[in-house]
């Protein structure tokens, strides 16, 4: 069966798009790796029965309530107070469920999409149904990529100790599982996302010993217009600030983690001041005892499917993003991209983009519009406003230029293949690797399970910072300027799938011929 609209990703962008095209009478197939709708932003616990008691000291009291339609047998433990704008979420999910009820929407949760390819005039997404262990194909006349983003992580000595998490992991453990991952937690990195992570943990009983923000929130003043136009965001920020004050969480601007230490797990963290030039300030180090550390350096859009089908991309502050036009159309026909995949900007922006894509899809597939001109105009204005705010935030929260000065030779850069900093340095400085692909070929950094999603921002940064040195030190080599530096990494297999599932998929394909 071919749906009208194949949507990959059920976060805010995918849900907004689905709800809108369903309202316009189209049929939808929605595929997502998670166990239900919401994506990372509206992450909820998996269906199950509410607990009688909390099993560990680190678990907040439940049960809280999920929207009725989503409740499995016996309801859910949930965490409504950790979420924003749940009203919108519930409304979107209700429209999706209506679509399912009348047979116009099909949802495939727990499906890892490994490829998206052309299928005649339309598209086919091949996914791994993790529950069943099989491969499934989902078809649509048009496709929407709304695959979101994940945390940017950067290496430092000790970052691979158990108990060191991305900020997003701490949030996922709390929102999706009701688990507070430590008693004494330090939050570090940069960007506004650190605030809800810290307040959430504090509210559920963790002692958040500090937020070490490498940037300086006072820099927001430099972007007054973009900030002022986003009263909602400012209010959200103030709410968090109040929460931090209530839980006595100190915020340390211009401070970063330079090392984590411990035997078999993190036991202490070393922080240092950040200079004007983005270097850790020598002599300012101090050790803080913790049992968990969360670090976040912003987000990386997940654009693999779009890169493989040949979409034009561009480099943004958050890494390569997919280029789209005013209607969220990518550079290849019948393909739309919405949400963080076009540039990290938060859930509200993603909602607007998803709805704008849906509006264009309805027109393209010959359906009457479901939104008034006034609403469309507002969506577009909203979109620019949020884009401007995201850009201002990115500008106010850069990754410190000197982040790599914390690295020592044996610091693991690629966690999967355990490639030390010394090997990456050698590849760039002595062997002339001019881009991340060549670093990978020479060192295996990025060749492991995660396919470089974790270490790529670090490797890109190292190619840039070490590469400049290499030209001076290796006069025998005349090198290209930056290699393919900014080209996005190609990942033809977007997520792993067992060979047996593919093999059985081949049988299905042959018997269909």
């Amino acid at each position: 069966m071919t749906a009208d609209v194949l949507i990959i990703g059920a976060g805010p962008a995918g849900l907004a798009c689905a709800a809108t095209v369903l309202a316009g009478g189209l049929a939808v197939e929605l595929v997502d790796a998670g166990h239900g709708p919401g994506g990372q932003y509206w992450r909820h616990p998996a269906p199950g029965s509410p607990p009688d008691s909390a099993p560990g000291g680190g678990t907040p009291p439940g049960p809280l309530r999920l929207p009725r339609g989503l409740r499995g047998r016996g309801g859910h433990p949930a965490s409504d107070d950790l979420h924003h704008d749940l009203g919108t979420y519930r409304a979107l999910v209700a429209r999706l469920e209506e679509g399912v009820a009348v047979g116009r929407a099909v949802t495939r949760f727990g499906h890892d999409v490994w490829s998206l390819t052309r299928d005649g005039d339309g598209w086919v997404a091949a996914s791994h149904d993790r529950g069943a262990g099989t491969e499934r194909r989902s078809r649509g006349r048009v496709a929407v990529i709304a695959t979101g983003a994940h945390d940017v992580a950067l290496p430092f000595p000790g970052w691979d100790l158990p108990g060191v998490f991305t900020a997003g992991a701490l949030q996922a453990l709390l929102k999706g599982n009701g688990v507070v991952a430590g008693r004494r937690v330090l939050i570090a990195g940069t960007g506004p996302f650190l605030l809800p992570v810290a307040t959430g943990l504090a509210r559920y009983g963790a002692q958040v010993v500090g937020i070490h923000e490498a940037g300086d929130p006072r820099d927001w003043a430099a972007h007054a217009p973009a900030v002022a136009q986003n009263a909602g965001k400012v209010w959200e920020g103030l709410t968090y600030a109040a929460g931090l004050a209530r839980h006595r969480v100190p915020v340390h601007p211009r401070s970063m983690v330079v090392a984590a230490r411990g035997a078999g797990r993190v036991q202490s963290v070393t922080v240092a001041g950040v200079s004007e030039t983005g270097e850790p300030v020598a002599g300012s180090e101090r050790d803080i005892e913790v049992d968990a550390l969360g670090v976040g350096w912003g987000f990386s859009p997940v654009i693999d499917l779009a890169v493989t089908v040949g979409c034009r991309t561009s480099m943004s502050w958050s890494g390569p993003v997919v280029e789209v036009d005013d209607d969220q159309r990518a550079s290849v026909p019948r393909l739309f991209v919405a949400g963080e995949t076009t540039g990290v900007g938060g859930a509200t922006l993603a909602l607007r983009e998803g709805e704008l894509a849906a509006h264009r899809i309805l027109a393209d597939l010959g359906r009457p519009p479901v939104s008034t001109e006034a609403r469309l105009l507002r969506l577009r204005v909203d979109r620019s406003r949020h884009k401007a705010f995201a850009a201002a935030m990115a500008d106010a929260h850069p990754i410190p230029a000197g982040w790599a000065s914390t690295l020592v030779s044996e610091t693991v850069v690629c966690r999967c293949e355990e490639v030390p900093y010394a090997a990456v340095r050698r590849a760039v400085v002595e062997e002339g690797a001019g881009d991340v692909r060549q670093v990978k070929q020479l060192t295996r950094a990025g060749m492991g399970w995660c396919q470089g999603r974790v270490c790529e921002p670090a490797c890109r940064g190292l190619v840039r910072s070490l590469g400049a040195r290499s030209v001076a030190e290796q006069p025998g080599q005349v090198r290209s300027k930056g290699g393919r530096g900014d080209a996005p990494t190609e990942r033809l297999v977007a997520l792993p799938i067992p060979l047996g599932a593919l093999a059985d998929g081949e049988v299905v394909e042959r018997s269909a011929m």
């Binding site: 001019g434 399970w449 005349v478 033809l492 792993p496 067992p498 060979l499 593919l502 093999a503």
Partner: protein, 399 residues
């Protein structure tokens, strides 16, 4: 000192640069992208005698094998990740076993060590039961192609060679043409607007070698033949040799443009399993084709059932430089004195690179030192270079 410009920093270009630098030529390698960024980084690194029947390509491979082992001593075995893993060719049915046995007979008469294997699972415990039999080729080797290219170039640079990445050779401005006096260099035009004079130019541009030939008005019929390779999650040393199905040989030598897949499975140092090999002529179309991926997966699972549970982690594809007669083009081009081709190795470029570099250097040295008509010495180290001469396509090219 006379200058040799090598176009292309893949494995073949690196080997040509290495041998030319060792022969004390002034070597400049020009690469439009990065070292080993084309076909070289898309292959498994095979040094196979097992898939070649008696003939000139086998002779070239046997020379190359000796040179690879010498290089391992000189450059370091670990620097190349050279692995004497051996190849095991398996036949599932009695009739394919009979064909394989006959093929191996011919190879043995050419000096290849080819040992019939009855108990396949004593060599490869994870193989599926019930396969008819196979032949073991202990001389098959493997190197890590990118590391090997890097090591060859580093050794060439240590001997004075220069590497320029990020610029392209567009053609020549003067000195070309058949009427050019011997000894007058070609002036090459580069993409960055500069020029460089070369006494000899080596076309080591792989599947793009025909474009370079065209730029010199010396076309060579090299076409891209696309191949996918699957890489699994790491499982450790569960597949010990390079294992492939007997129909692989037939597919390699086929000229069919349509999709062909034959199963090749092997382990790597990193613990992953590589699964090949597909062949299809679709130009430089690099679209992902899930059908090819599924078919390769199915064939690999049939050979090694444990792979069913192993995830596919990534797949990559590249373009083999393919010639209609499946032989590389190695030798001086009569149409443009000074131009020497080293292209068209199809899927065997990693294996054949050192012998190619060695031959090319001998040809340049012979031609330039004596200032005579740059014809190659016909037989060198047991290889009859006439089989690889560019003029074998002359009638096809001019027609």
């Amino acid at each position: 000192m006379s200058r040799v410009v090598v176009v292309g920093a893949g494995i073949v270009g690196a080997a040509c640069a290495y041998y030319a630098a060792r022969a004390e030529w002034d070597v400049v390698v020009i690469e439009r992208d990065q070292v080993a960024s084309g076909t070289t980084s898309r292959g498994e690194g095979n040094l196979l005698v097992s898939d070649k029947g008696a003939g000139p390509e086998l002779d070239l491979m046997r020379l190359s094998r000796r040179l690879w082992l010498e290089l391992a001593d000189e450059l370091g075995r670990d620097e190349l990740e050279l692995d004497e893993k051996g190849g095991l060719v398996v036949a599932s049915m009695p009739d394919s076993l009979a064909a394989l046995t006959e093929f191996a007979e011919g190879q043995r008469s050419a000096g290849v060590v080819a040992q019939p294997v009855e108990d396949l699972r004593s060599l490869e415990p994870q193989l599926a039961p019930g396969l008819a039999g196979g032949v073991f080729y202990p001389e098959d080797l493997q190197v890590q192609p990118v590391l090997a290219t890097q090591a060859l170039l580093a050794a060439a640079i240590a001997r004075g060679a220069e590497l320029r990445c990020g610029t392209e050779v567009l053609g020549f401005t003067s000195g070309g043409g058949g009427d050019r006096p011997i000894g007058r260099p070609l002036r090459l035009r580069l993409g960055d607007g500069s020029t460089i004079d070369a006494d000899a130019v080596v076309n080591a541009a792989g599947p793009w070698g025909s474009l370079l030939g065209d730029a010199f008005a010396a076309p060579v019929p090299v076409l891209p033949r696309r191949g996918f390779v699957l890489v699994t999650a790491p499982v450790g040393p569960r597949v010990r040799h390079k294992v492939y199905a007997a129909d692989y040989v037939a597919n390699v030598s086929s000229g069919d443009a349509g999709l062909q897949t034959s199963c090749v499975v092997e382990g790597t140092r990193g613990g992953t399993i590589l699964i090949g090999a597909s062949r299809e002529r679709v130009g430089f179309d690099d679209t992902l084709d899930p059908l090819v991926v599924r078919r390769l997966a199915a064939q690999a699972c049939a050979l090694f059932p444990f792979l069913r549970e192993v995830p596919l982690m990534r797949t990559y594809r590249g373009f083999r430089p393919y010639c209609p007669d499946h032989l590389p083009v190695i030798g001086p081009d009569r149409r443009v004195p000074g131009l020497v081709h080293a292209v068209g190795h199809e899927g065997a470029g990693i294996g054949l690179a050192p012998a190619t570099g060695h031959l090319v250097t001998a040809m340049i040295s012979g031609a330039l030192r004596s200032r005579r008509d740059p014809r190659s010495p016909d037989v060198l180290d047991g290889v009859d270079a006439r089989a690889f001469a560019p003029e074998r396509f002359a009638s096809a090219v001019t027609s």
